[in-house]
């Protein structure tokens, strides 16, 4: 068993990144991103997000979810609760093996605090490792406090709770 989200992340990466999406509710879409749960075990899960180019989410939070976001590729940046984005323009380069310089780097550690996300012209993708402290895991797309991304996001939440 895992005591915290860091342990879960380390285990998943060492265990060969198992892809075992849950049968129920593994896919969620919004106006700016598509997500799928790659693996879920008890109160822990990892979701993969693919984000459209030139988009931004409003500041929001996922209460009672501890998370670690990990860069995969693309041009994306996270902001703190005040809307301050990190300038990552110096890291927008490929490595010798063709991957993004930021691949595997931790983008954000978050214990339910507010944050935001935006993408540049290539879009982007990241993994989010999650420890759900109270509710059963579903998706941070659904477990959202703050302004929604758009109409499709609202529809996705509505359909889930219907």
């Amino acid at each position: 068993m895992f005591n915290n989200v860091e342990q879960f992340k380390d285990w998943w990466l060492k265990a060969g990144r198992p892809m075992k999406p849950p049968f129920k509710n593994c896919i969620h879409t919004t106006d700016i991103a598509y997500a799928m749960c790659l693996y879920r075990k008890d109160q822990f899960q990892v979701e993969l997000y693919i984000c459209k180019p030139n988009t931004e989410s409003p500041i929001h939070s996922h209460p009672n979810v501890n998370s670690i976001s990990m860069y995969l590729t693309g041009n994306l940046s996270f902001a703190d609760e005040n809307g301050n984005y990190k300038d990552l323009s110096a890291y927008q380069w490929p490595k010798q093996n063709g991957a993004h310089m930021l691949l595997g780097k931790t983008a954000e550690k978050n214990d339910g605090k507010s944050h935001a996300l935006r993408t540049g012209s290539t879009g982007g993708s990241f993994l989010i490792f999650e420890h759900w402290l109270k509710d059963n895991p579903s998706s941070v797309t659904l477990h959202w406090e703050g302004d929604l991304v758009g109409e499709k996001h609202a529809q996705t939440i509505k359909e889930y709770h219907a």
Partner: protein, 178 residues
């Protein structure tokens, strides 16, 4: 440790798929052209080396992809989740709704099942209310890999897809001219 793919001889895209899974499903999306989207799907290239790549597709609920081919590309699709009906022209296309069941470990009964789609065989997708997700393993035989979203012959998925295909065509023409 991941062995370099270029030193491994793959005769088929299925061999590449087997290599990928045996090596722990490496996540190494490329810096260039990793993400594409259409009216009903988004894709991320999870791994690319040489003429081979694997793309993850996540698709909208209640959507379809019309009949199409990906010229010069052998593909095989591996089910991950949701409700997707793959259809290949001239083949038996069993109704997968009979397998919309949960296994004991909480995953989909079709997880890991493969549909091979050789170059030139038209195929089309029907996606149910849960949406769908699958891996597209690809062997690009005569050009550098990009995405099968853009290497598309047939009716586009919708307006967004049409624009992407048009842009891609213009880019290809510009490259040839320069």
């Amino acid at each position: 440790m991941l062995r370099p793919l270029r030193n491994i001889m793959h005769k088929t895209v299925e061999q590449f798929r087997d290599w990928y899974f045996k090596n722990g499903s490496p996540l190494r999306p490329p810096f260039h052209n990793p993400v594409f989207y259409t009216d009903n799907a988004m894709s991320l290239c999870l791994f690319r080396e040489g003429q081979y790549q694997v793309e993850l597709y996540i698709t909208e609920p209640h959507s379809t992809s019309p009949k199409h081919t990906h010229p010069g590309v052998d593909s095989c699709f591996v089910y991950l989740g949701g409700n997707i009906q793959f259809n290949l022209e001239g083949r038996d296309n069993p109704d997968v709704s009979q397998w919309q069941t949960e296994k004991e470990d909480g995953t989909h009964a079709l997880l890991g099942k493969t549909v091979s789609s050789p170059d030139g065989i038209p195929h089309w997708l029907l996606i149910g209310k849960e949406g769908g997700a699958f891996l597209s393993f690809e062997h690009w035989k005569d050009k550098d890999p990009v995405s099968v979203t853009t290497n598309w012959e047939g009716e586009p998925v919708g307006e967004v897809h049409s624009k992407i295909l048009e842009q891609n065509l213009n880019d290809n023409i510009s490259e040839r001219v320069s």
